[in-house]
């Protein structure tokens, strides 16, 4: 509440940022290196399923995983939700879908953004393809977005 001596209360932006600089390890490092080459790698789990994005240890047996394999750059939406109100820092600055995408050749799904014109255009089972960043640099954002191929 402003008082007479103070006038209007002051207000200022305050950004608390932690500039984490993380070592990737060999598995995530290879995944990101491949993205920079516009390719996608998964890893073979203990039961033979292909996990993408790759994990370092088997989700069931906990054993270290070492066999990385290439998967496709197209895939299928297995679940999704619509982001109608876009906030700062989100991958697209217009309304978009966040979806789980199972890439061809993989047995698990990755969370990423789908650039679609409206929620009516998105459905589970819809086919999507990667739209690459113009200058990939070895980050998950090298996948600028998935876009609908029009198939399902």
């Amino acid at each position: 509440m402003p008082d007479e001596a103070t006038g209007e209360l002051l207000e200022a932006p305050l950004v608390i940022e932690y500039p984490f600089n993380r070592t990737t390890g060999p598995v995530i490092g290879a995944f990101l290196t491949a993205l920079r080459e516009r390719r996608v790698l998964g890893i073979t789990g203990a039961d033979g399923r292909v996990i993408c994005p790759p994990v370092e240890y088997d989700p069931v047996t906990s054993e270290p995983l070492t066999e990385m394999v290439e998967v496709g750059t197209e895939g299928t939406i297995t679940s999704w939700s619509w982001v109608a109100n876009v906030r700062d820092g989100q991958p697209l600055q217009q309304p978009h879908a966040l979806a789980l995408v199972r890439l061809d050749g993989a047995d698990t799904s990755m969370l990423h953004v789908v650039d679609a014109p409206s929620p009516d255009a998105v459905c589970t089972g819809a086919r999507v393809r990667i739209r690459w960043a113009s200058e990939p640099e070895g980050l998950i954002t090298d996948i600028a977005a998935f876009e609908l191929t029009g198939e399902s």
Binding site: P2, L9, L10, E11, V15, F20, N21, M68, L139
Partner: protein, 189 residues
């Protein structure tokens, strides 16, 4: 934020036991080993009435604290209440602008966009008339000559750069006055 990458030093043997995976040939010269993943929290900060008064004073190059109605201690920056007796502070009191170094350290790893070149001295400065010390940077003196009890004055930004910000004080520098005895600074850090 600095953007240069530092050299990666190997972990000591045994610390990183993860096996090397077999990877399809990627044709990449430099594998990715390190990524920047900043995480930020964005607030709109509202300092409240007392600190707003303080910040407005800084715009006029005045350092204004507020007095505890019970003890008379002047708190700066004021937060609107006395931290020792819990009563609201109502009386504004101008302190300083000169002050005394009550504690300091030499900073060798600076961070933040406004950090001076390292090494530099970061200090607590007790403004004349105040009960508590302010954070500040001590410049214009060799770091090995900085000492507790040293008298200093604030250096302000150019008049046309003054705003309602503590950054109006760019740093503090020594003045030619006798040191204050350290025991007089007890309880005022």
């Amino acid at each position: 934020m600095a953007t240069e990458d530092r050299t990666i030093t190997p972990f000591p043997t045994g610390l990183w036991s993860q096996p090397q995976p077999s990877v399809p040939p990627l044709g990449a010269d430099e594998p990715v080993q390190r990524i920047r993943v900043p995480a930020s929290l964005r607030y709109r900060y509202n300092p409240g009435t007392a600190t707003t008064r303080f910040l407005r004073g800084l715009q006029d190059k005045k350092i204004e604290g507020e007095a505890c109605p019970s003890t008379g201690d002047v708190y700066v920056p004021p937060r609107g209440m006395s931290p020792t007796v819990g009563l609201p502070t109502t009386e504004q009191v101008e302190v300083g602008p000169n002050g005394t170094v009550s504690a300091f350290c030499v900073v060798h790893i600076g961070f933040g966009v406004n950090a001076p070149p390292t090494p530099f001295v970061s200090a607590l400065i007790l403004p004349d008339g105040g009960a508590v010390s302010l954070y500040g940077t001590i410049l214009e003196i060799p770091i090995e000559q900085v000492r507790i009890g040293m008298r200093v004055e604030p250096v302000w930004v150019a008049d046309d750069q003054l705003s309602t910000s503590f950054q109006n004080i760019t740093h503090w520098r020594p003045i030619d006055e006798p040191d204050v005895a350290p025991e007089l600074l007890k309880g005022h850090m």
